[in-house]
């Protein structure tokens, strides 16, 4: 149909599948860098505020990033109840630690990200996202390799959050989605601790990676549960997995959750409350059945191969 307005000359494209491209009108390129690990853009979009793009994949936009970062952080924290020590793997833009810091019980957040150039650019250009979280005395920022960190650390954590960029083959993080890595995470989880993983798209055309991350976590943890949030700029619904030795109650009492949040957090939640949690932890039948049917497990010998510009899964 004809007759509509075009608003941009400058565009950023992302391959959602090898056949489907999401193209976003850009009003300004705020920062661009080829770092030692990846290619970074920070741009001003027409409709979704500022955006961070790494290796061609949209990481977060200021207008809708809460739909990613709140479900990434708070279900794990709620199920734990009183997280004191939280470890964040990745988390470049600082929005994950921003959410963690809402918990008054938190005494220490360690964030380990491999790419200091991305972290520095986010600190400078994306204050809407980190909200000065990096300056909080509870935060310890470690620039380094998460695998090496996990190999050597003795410290125990109440919550571990895997907020890594997608495991694209050429990218820095694909090994961190394997059974070996998940076992290392389990080893440093304190009793009663929870591990949460951003776990890729869950549309019917491209959920293979999500299914295999679920299956790999099931091979390591007694209890796992997938949940889904829809961040529009990802162009596809997004999956997470919560894993723990503890039970994961998929019928939480919303009113009790709201009471806990009022007591234990400083508030400021946009998306998450008791009702939202109940909704998140009851996912569609098609997704539960596909996870149940999945047989493959990611290992270091057979890691995920999720190509940068849209893969139907390998």
């Amino acid at each position: 149909m004809s007759g509509s307005e075009i608003n941009a000359d400058l565009w950023m494209s992302e391959y959602i599948t090898p056949w489907d491209i999401y193209v976003h009108g850009i009003t300004e390129v705020i920062a661009y860098k080829k770092t030692a690990y990846q290619e970074m853009y920070i741009v001003e979009t027409g409709a979704y505020g500022k955006a961070l793009i790494l290796d061609g994949k949209w990481q977060s936009c200021s207008v809708d990033e809460f739909l990613y970062h709140e479900p990434l952080v708070h279900p794990a924290a709620i199920y734990h109840g009183s997280p004191r020590k939280v470890l964040v793997l990745g988390g470049g833009e600082g929005a994950t630690i921003r959410e963690v810091l809402r918990w008054k019980t938190v005494e220490k957040v360690a964030m380990i990200d491999i790419d200091s150039e991305v972290v520095e650019a986010c600190r400078e250009y994306l204050p809407e996202m980190h909200a000065n979280a990096f300056d909080d005395p509870r935060v310890e920022l470690i620039i380094g390799d998460a695998l090496e960190f996990l190999d050597t650390t003795e410290e125990q954590w109440d919550i571990i959050i895997s907020d890594l960029s997608d495991p694209i083959e050429e990218g820095p993080s694909f090994q961190l989605f394997t059974k070996e890595y998940f076992e290392k995470a389990k080893r440093i989880l304190s009793p009663g601790g929870y591990f949460v993983v951003q776990a890729g798209p869950v549309s019917p055309a491209e959920m293979k990676m999500h299914l295999r991350i679920n299956n790999t976590l099931k091979a390591v943890f007694p209890n796992t549960y997938p949940f889904v949030s829809y961040v529009s700029t990802y162009g596809t619904p997004w999956g997470f997995v919560l894993a723990s030795g503890e039970e994961i109650n998929t019928r939480p009492e919303p009113e009790a959750i709201d009471k806990m949040l009022a007591e234990k957090t400083t508030g400021g939640f946009k998306m998450l409350d008791g009702i939202t949690l109940l909704g998140l932890f009851n996912v569609g039948k098609h997704l539960r059945e596909a996870i149940a049917a999945e047989t493959e497990i990611y290992t270091l010998a057979k890691p995920p191969k999720f190509f940068g510009k849209g893969s139907l899964g390998k």
Copy 2:
């Protein structure tokens, strides 16, 4: 990032907002028609099967349409419990009546669609979607104007499903999203009946229309509740509203729902069961708060203006 494969020369684009375009690789144009009411494409996509596109808006793809049609139909039917008579407004591709017919209690489904050319093309080219539902003796297909139909009918219906294309200004359906129209729907709802409306996108950047449809329904019905499904090819999460004189139980008991579905339907559900229903009817805080804050109501004097190629809402 460079180095990825391109799979298409032929593309269909949809403006999701005035700044954001979803572009889908096409392998074949199966049918094209400028009908008396709208412009229609039926195409074979690279990743999502066959797709129906009307006036530049993606209506459904064979690979992910169940994520739209199952939530459109079954929550209303479940809350009712024993629907005998169902009225579908719109529903061109026949997938809505396909889902209605799964209910053994259903004795009659009337589907009223204004565009016989679209319906005929779907019957011919989209058997995956209608699954021969048009041939079921319980189905009465009426080619005509839904507004005229509602003005003149005396018949009562247990469920009314508004499965209309988006209310774009130049399109055939925008009047059908107004208070006057919703009141007509209420008048012909049988006691204990439910009305469900496909109600537009709900991303943070473009939820205005959804909020106002909610608010308009609240002005007419004692009880309303929004819910959301994630159809990847829509490029944004999609909203529905359920409205009724009856209460809408947002804490259904999944096991009881599954028992009801086993008894009263012929099965074949891909997405919907008791757990899914519980998840659907507990939506995000941001959406509930935005709906509560909305003040505008659509009327025939002030109808929705949702432009064809992506609008942030008017």
Copy 3:
């Protein structure tokens, strides 16, 4: 800059270089076929009429194809003066033979194209292009392999026209741009004959293939000269090479040419006359210098590798 109108939902894209894409709004897909040799679309464009696309490369549009077919045919015919027998290699859409037939001296045109499915589709759907040329009794259409034809034929031709699709590696024609093939063409050229080759893009960013075709022809023919036409839908200026044992007069007398055309042709030229010929055969210094500096020659052992979606030349 914002505020412009969009006129299409359906698009065909062509990579002009690996970095530059020309995207054309389509109003109708008239025909689509995966033939035994290539992938074919015939479409109706928004601005350039009907178009033929083979293996993702735009072959010709009804609105601007005269800018390709007139320079392809008439300079060779003019320099010859009285062509009686003309051989066309390729030429699927029939516009090349349409131009040849304007010469009253022509007694026979043989057109040899490998792909009967493309020829048939063009006859059916592109009457604007062939103008019923296939029905002219002087035309002999041979469906077959040009290389085989050249190996076995004894017949002599006054003009040989190489109207082949670009020599993309996976395509049917790349061997036909080699020294061995050009020698075969020379062998069956009658005394005083001319050989003309469509010879690829000549923009500063992607003229390598054109340079090497020139150089390869120079290794075979005593006289060669490049010329350029600009067909907008090719997105880049297009090169040809004329080769002969005869001299190529780059200072033709326009008035004498016009007189010859009035006598020896049936007229109907849109672009070509004496002045145009003089302009065509005096090309830019940068192109002449680049050709003079080129050292590589295409052979069957080292044929051109022009990738389908835009190559800077190999």
Copy 4:
């Protein structure tokens, strides 16, 4: 056809017609500004070097700008023979004055551009284009309105070069393509002087503006002649018009031209020499006939309306 490589995530698009878009892969946004007059990008492209884009229209790329700036400047200078004083209207990036300064006879070049912010950005970021021409003592840079300048100046010029951005309706330059403006230019042309105008695209689908600029100049000057160059990044062949009280010899003697250039210039020409000039001044029959048939003239009361994102002409 499938299987090709994608090289970019960031793209700049230009509407060539309202249906045809040229999309260029960008590797870096070097500068962006909304100036008082227009929107400016300076970018690094994948295949064509650095590019300047104003109001969505590609002005020049470092790899192919010589194909625009050499024909803009040198034919007028050659036909004059000994230009001493040259006036450039527009010319932001400094490449036009760079070419003018090759003429040893030149004593003064005045360049009048309305947009100091664009000129400053070009001086800083596009040294490849201006080659320090702004620092030449013969150059006088005047930031101001060309119309005002022409109204008030008494000075005479041997050559006047209209190197303005396209006359898009919202842009700064559309009045400068009218009969009134051309008459002002004629008034300050010294005896034997030449006026040259960049005069828009000349493809069959969008040559209206070019035809009318020709026709408007014919109403003012005794002699005019169109010529065409092929700048790939413009996506369409580009027209110029030379106008003068003197005759324009369309059969120049190439050898004499080369001798003149050797004597009177400092050399460094990439595209232009005697042969090139002969080729340029013998344009296609279709263009000559269309110009002859054109009847409209642009006046201040009826100026050109060339919309920014591709117009078929108004």
